[in-house]
């Protein structure tokens, strides 16, 4: 009897939480920069064996997930060591598939740090070094990275998954949101300000899975889900 009363009290008093339907992806960081290949073993862009890199600035972050002081610090990003392993085409478009690489965000003091400088013909004396100095804020493995190029207009886009596994603020992101992804548009030609030796201007975002909210329920409701 005492045992039954115990379970009744538990059923009445226990407020269980159940996950609700998944929400939209969340914005993590906005970036803008330029890309280049190194090594660039074959003339042109996007050939198998060439390594893809991108450097630039973080222009905005989600303050819920990352703490950044843009007044006192410069935030830079780096995509690195993405090796092209295969291509496909749908003329005039080229699709380039890459082996895993890495993505990183760095924080560097505006007063005591080094101002990021693209220079020309990277890698050079300032790139990527002035984009990878300071504190490693967040970083991860980039996988399933695919780049689309319009060979007629030399513009395009990319998409890749990012699994975050390092950085001073990795711990501030809930574990369920550490597997994110990135997309960007690529542009070249007049007006983009692309420094010599870089291939495209890059403008995109990092996004992570949305927070899965919970709602209250009861033990009886949970048990009823599993009754035959």
């Amino acid at each position: 009897m005492r045992m039954r009363n115990y379970f009744v009290l538990m059923a009445l008093g226990l407020a269980l939480t159940m996950p609700a339907r998944a929400h939209a992806d969340q914005f993590l960081a906005d970036f803008r920069g330029f890309d280049y290949e190194d090594p660039n073993n074959s003339p042109g862009f996007g050939n198998v064996g060439d390594n893809y890199h991108s450097l630039g600035y973080i222009t905005q972050v989600n303050p819920v997930l990352l703490t950044c002081d843009f007044t006192n610090n410069e935030y830079t990003y780096q995509f690195k060591d993405l090796t092209a392993i295969a291509t496909d085409s749908a003329p005039p478009f080229l699709f380039v598939f890459y082996a895993p690489g890495r993505f990183r965000i760095f924080e560097d003091s505006k007063t005591s740090g080094t101002t990021a400088d693209f220079g020309v013909n990277p890698p050079n004396a300032t790139a990527p070094s002035t984009f990878t100095d300071g504190t490693l804020t967040l970083g991860g493995v980039v996988s399933n990275f695919i780049l689309t190029l319009d060979l007629t207009n030399n513009n395009g886009s990319f998409n890749g998954d990012i699994t975050f596994d390092e950085g001073s603020q990795q711990g501030s992101i809930p574990p369920a949101q550490l597997t994110g992804w990135s997309f960007a548009g690529l542009t070249s030609g007049s007006g983009t300000g692309t420094p010599q030796g870089y291939s495209h201007q890059v403008d995109g975002q990092i996004r992570v899975p949305g927070v899965v909210p919970a709602y209250g329920t009861s033990w009886g409701m949970v048990k009823s889900l599993y009754r035959h």
Binding site: T148, F183, S190, Q201, D203, Q205
Partner: protein
């Protein structure tokens, strides 16, 4: 001989040559935005992923960065926001065309005849809502004072999708090279007009159509920017002055 020399002298005096001089040769990004920008249009089919000819595209967004000649303005100043509204971009007669590859395909749509207005407003009240146009779109993106206005003759949007299931992979938008968008007005037009001539600009960026990223009733999240391409100015000179530069 004398007549010949006189003719040569007169020709040299009258011959006016335009010589490029160093000028405000601004190229590169001047306006940037990120997560707070969405596009909607009248004739998009979410099942076929195609836009019908004549569909009208509109875009609303909040600017998060000014660079170069606009760099002294902070769009993130508390209580103030800079918003923009692009509209009138009409899909051409072909609608969306598809270039098919082995595993991926690119869906391309060319739009013509758009305009852009950029607004400086207070308070920060821009709200996307759902299923635009609505009670806040485009109204909360076109309130305040006119900061800049311009024309966007054409934009091409390319979207890469998986052949297996049609899912979106990546995308980009581009108004084309050379830059052919033109500023027409607004309180900041002089900042982008060296010598009184507004610089042409280019609209580009990443085009995200992943369903979990796009608000209901919109077709895409647009992480974009505006690049400026100011031409190099020239001044009159003479053939004699030019030759004198190369004399030992």
């Amino acid at each position: 001989m004398t007549k010949r020399l006189l003719r040569l002298a007169l020709t040299a005096a009258l011959f006016v040559v335009a010589v490029p001089v160093s000028a405000f040769a601004q190229t590169g990004t001047v306006i940037d935005w990120g997560p707070a920008c969405y596009a909607y249009e009248t004739g998009y089919n979410a099942t076929t992923h195609k836009t019908a000819p004549g569909s009208v595209m509109s875009i609303v967004g909040v600017i998060n960065s000014f660079v170069g000649p606009l760099g002294s303005i902070d769009p993130n100043t508390a209580g103030t926001e800079y918003t923009f509204y692009i509209t009138g971009l009409t899909a051409n007669a072909a609608g969306t065309t598809v270039a098919a590859g082995g595993t991926l395909s690119v869906f391309s749509t060319v739009y013509n005849g758009g305009t852009i207005t950029i607004w400086q407003g207070s308070p920060r009240d821009a709200a996307f809502g759902t299923n635009p146009p609505n009670a806040t779109v485009p109204s909360t993106f076109t309130n305040g004072s006119l900061f800049l206005s311009g024309t966007i003759p054409t934009v091409t949007i390319n979207v890469t999708r998986f052949n297996s299931n049609g899912n979106w992979l990546s995308g980009n938008a581009d108004s084309g090279d050379p830059a052919n968008c033109l500023w027409t007005g607004g309180s900041a037009i002089d900042l982008l007009s060296p010598g009184g001539h507004p610089c042409p600009f280019r609209l580009t960026g990443g085009w995200d159509m992943k369903p979990t990223d796009v608000l209901a009733g919109y077709v895409s999240l647009f992480d974009g920017k505006i690049d400026l391409n100011c031409p190099t100015a020239s001044t009159p000179s003479t053939w004699g002055a030019i030759k004198s530069q190369y004399r030992d």
